[in-house]
């Protein structure tokens, strides 16, 4: 017998030896909550602040100027192929479009990256990226040291169940709650062991 059949056989034997009761899962926890834009915005700004992520509020019309401000003194910036080109119009440095064909190594020379986002959870301050065209492959938001992420308030939900409900399970998904951090040395929090050391979230309040 192969290992698969042996392991599955053992599991069946184990359950036969001590048959379990059927289980009903209680679902009394909170989900599907409605909330106002102000409520979600206030909560999100507070949570992101606690993670030491910088928050910029702007209108859709102010996207380009706010993104330029958030990029600070970055010189070379990478963007995913599907990102709205107007977002980086006011940035004075160089903008390169990333693609699956470019070797990942080139991202090491990049100062920062600008992406969109799929959904955001206010209660935990978590931005979800699902590798859609305006978010790019996963390495893009990982290797450069600065990530500027644009979040529309309409895509912000209150809690984790509301956020998970909006995801497509089979897309490669990354959840980001603040910049990379470690507390491994005497529990002192240090930002950026491997991922971006700076996370700047641009919240478009009318988007």
């Amino acid at each position: 017998m192969n290992a698969r059949d042996v392991v599955l056989g053992r599991v069946r034997d184990a359950l036969a030896a001590a048959p379990p009761e059927p289980v009903t899962v209680p679902r009394e926890y909170r989900g599907g909550r409605e909330s106002s834009g102000e409520q979600r915005l206030e909560l999100l700004v507070d949570r992101l602040g606690e993670y030491r992520a910088d928050v910029y509020r702007c209108s859709v019309a102010e996207t380009a100027s706010t993104v330029a401000e958030a990029l600070g003194d970055a010189r070379l910036v990478a963007v995913p192929g599907g990102l709205d080109a107007s977002w980086t119009e006011e940035f004075t440095g160089r903008v390169e479009v990333d693609s699956a064909e470019s070797p990942v190594r080139w991202l090491e020379d990049v100062d920062g990256v600008v992406t969109s986002s799929a959904v955001t959870c206010a209660e935990t301050g978590t931005v979800f990226l699902d590798a859609a065209g305006d978010q790019g492959r996963r390495a893009l938001t990982l290797v450069p040291d600065l990530h500027v992420c644009v979040v529309d308030l309409s895509s912000v939900v209150l809690g984790v169940p509301e956020a998970v409900g909006r995801l497509d399970p089979v897309r490669p998904t990354t959840m980001i709650s603040g910049p990379s951090a470690t507390s491994d040395i005497e529990l002192d929090r240090v930002e950026g062991v491997h991922g971006p050391r700076t996370l700047r979230v641009v919240v478009r309040v009318d988007g």
């Binding site: 359950l15 030896a17 009394e28 409900g165 897309r171 990354t174 951090a181 470690t182 491994d184 529990l187």
Partner: protein, 508 residues
């Protein structure tokens, strides 16, 4: 019963006795003695557990539906165990359909061989590793090393442990027993290309690790991970982390190999909404950990081109066969029970001798790997490594009743072993208590115990076999007189008269 009788099922085998890291070479009390003398470790652990404890309480209290989430998490995990064969088959099918390759491993040796073969097939003599309890349990690093392959741990704490040729002392913060000066020394001694003027500022230490590991991430073609959750109905896998080393390992190399225990499933993708709330809050006391990665098979143009999943039994089916003890398989490895445990706080994780330390380790380890294969099996001491105070049950996000499981394991151990001190004492007391005359005699005889008590009236060492009890506990010396002798004496009678007078005064 309507189901057809198919014969008695064979009890599934436990994890092999000597492979991997599910058994120490010393009993818990012996190892604990050494740990208790390590004042540095006790100080560091005390500070760390108190800090995480405080943060956890705060963020758990913040959610008004915390108890409802715990109930849902517990039921979901119980449901997974009850339907494990069907869910495993579904999971395998989904992973395969999305381009992953699924391998099954009966035990540590088989899992190690599969992984080593996969790495060797890629002509790779170095692999990246993201911190993983499953690969630590099977001793994968040692096995890869013996095949000439160098595993590089990429989690900062795991790297500190690896470079220091040390063992982890905590599930979540494995190098918490080390202070910054020790870490600086380890880096200077062991990390290639480190700045010789390195000081012990945590920011500088993290920076050196980043530099060293960055070059590895850019050049190594194979990575090995564990998994926090596998979703049965979609084939999705998930790794929860903080540093980004997980994201690096899961996306940068050409080949990804994930080793996952068969119990780590959740039924459906939606169920992640429960565990993504329970796990970070219970484990690091954060509302959410900085990074969570989820992937399903392979995605063209994004991440590894090849994905292998190794499903590991290694004693899990044996644990499942115990209708009571199987509850331990609900564990999501958050380490909340470690941080509240008065025993763990003083001894640290290494004293448990297993990849899984603390209260949950004391339940899980003996079940995965057994505890009665020899008279002095170190795992047999683990169910006694607890004061049964119940704090671990209170904090467990999936409501594992660890104290009751420990008592059950003590019972099983006494039943299985004819040699324990507890068994000998229980037999002797049942004999003594079965007759009043014998009981009085035994009580008088126990007075002899007084000679063993020190100046403080405490006995710290009894002769064998009773030393099994006193090796880890002090025992009060027996009183000078038995209760009956006191009752019959002049001062006993006087005390009773005084009590009666007191009671009469109170009534009038």
């Amino acid at each position: 019963m309507s189901s057809a009788f198919l014969g008695f099922p064979t009890p599934p085998p436990r994890a092999p006795y000597a492979t991997g890291h599910l058994r120490g070479d010393q009993s818990f009390p012996e190892a604990a003695h050494t740990a208790l003398d390590d004042t540095q470790q006790r100080r560091n652990l005390g500070k760390a557990t108190a800090t995480i404890r405080g943060k956890r309480d705060q963020v758990a209290d913040e959610l008004p539906d915390w108890e409802e989430l715990r109930s849902a998490g517990s039921a979901l995990k119980a449901d997974v165990l009850a339907r494990l064969p069907e869910l495993l088959e579904r999971f395998e099918r989904e992973v395969t359909e999305r381009g992953g390759v699924v391998h099954w491993a009966r035990d540590a040796d088989e899992a190690n061989e599969i992984v080593t073969r996969l790495v060797a097939d890629k002509d790779s003599d170095e692999v990246l590793k993201v911190k993983s309890m499953a690969t630590q349990e099977i001793g994968l690093n040692e096995h890869l090393g013996s095949a000439g392959i160098s595993p590089v741990e990429t989690d900062l704490a795991e790297l500190i442990v690896q470079l220091g040729a040390d063992r982890p002392s905590h599930i979540l913060v494995p190098a918490i027993h080390r202070n910054r000066a020790e870490i600086r020394d380890i880096f200077l001694r062991e990390m290639p290309g480190v700045d010789p003027n390195l000081d012990d500022d945590p920011v500088r230490l993290a920076e050196e690790a980043r530099k060293y590991l960055r070059s590895k991430f850019m050049s190594t073609r194979v990575a090995i991970s564990g998994a926090n959750f596998g979703v049965a109905d979609t084939g999705t896998l998930s790794v929860v982390e903080s540093e980004g080393n997980g994201r690096m390992c899961l996306t940068m190399p050409e080949t990804l190999i994930t080793v996952m225990g068969i119990e780590k499933l959740v039924p459906s993708f939606t169920d992640l909404e429960v565990f993504l709330q329970l796990l970070p809050r219970s484990s690091t006391g954060e509302r959410m950990n900085p990074y969570t990665s989820m992937w399903t098979g392979v995605t063209e143009g994004d991440g590894p081109e090849e994905f292998h999943l190794v499903l590991l039994d290694n004693g899990r089916s044996a644990t499942l066969a115990d209708g009571v003890g199987r509850e331990a398989l609900q564990c999501i490895r958050c380490s909340a029970c470690l941080n509240v445990c008065p025993v763990y706080e003083r001894t640290g994780g290494k004293a448990y001798g297993s990849t899984y330390p603390g209260p949950i380790g004391a339940v899980l380890t003996p079940q995965l790997a057994g505890m009665h294969e020899s008279r002095d099996d170190p795992n047999a001491s683990l169910p006694y490594a607890s004061s049964l105070c119940g704090a671990c049950y209170d904090v467990c996000p999936v409501k594992i009743d660890i104290p009751s499981l420990l008592v059950e394991l003590r019972h099983q151990h006494v039943e299985q072993s004819r040699y324990t001190a507890e068994a000998a004492m229980m037999r002797a007391s049942s004999l003594a208590m079965s007759s009043a005359k014998r009981f009085t005699k035994a009580q008088r005889a126990s007075r002899l115990g007084r000679v063993l008590g020190g100046a403080d009236g405490r006995i710290s060492a009894l002769p064998p076999p009773l030393n099994a009890w006193t090796s880890a506990r002090d025992l009060p010396a027996p009183p000078k007189r038995t209760f009956r002798e006191w009752w019959d004496s002049e001062d006993g009678r006087e005390a009773v008269r005084a009590a009666r007078r007191e009671a009469e005064r109170g009534e009038s």
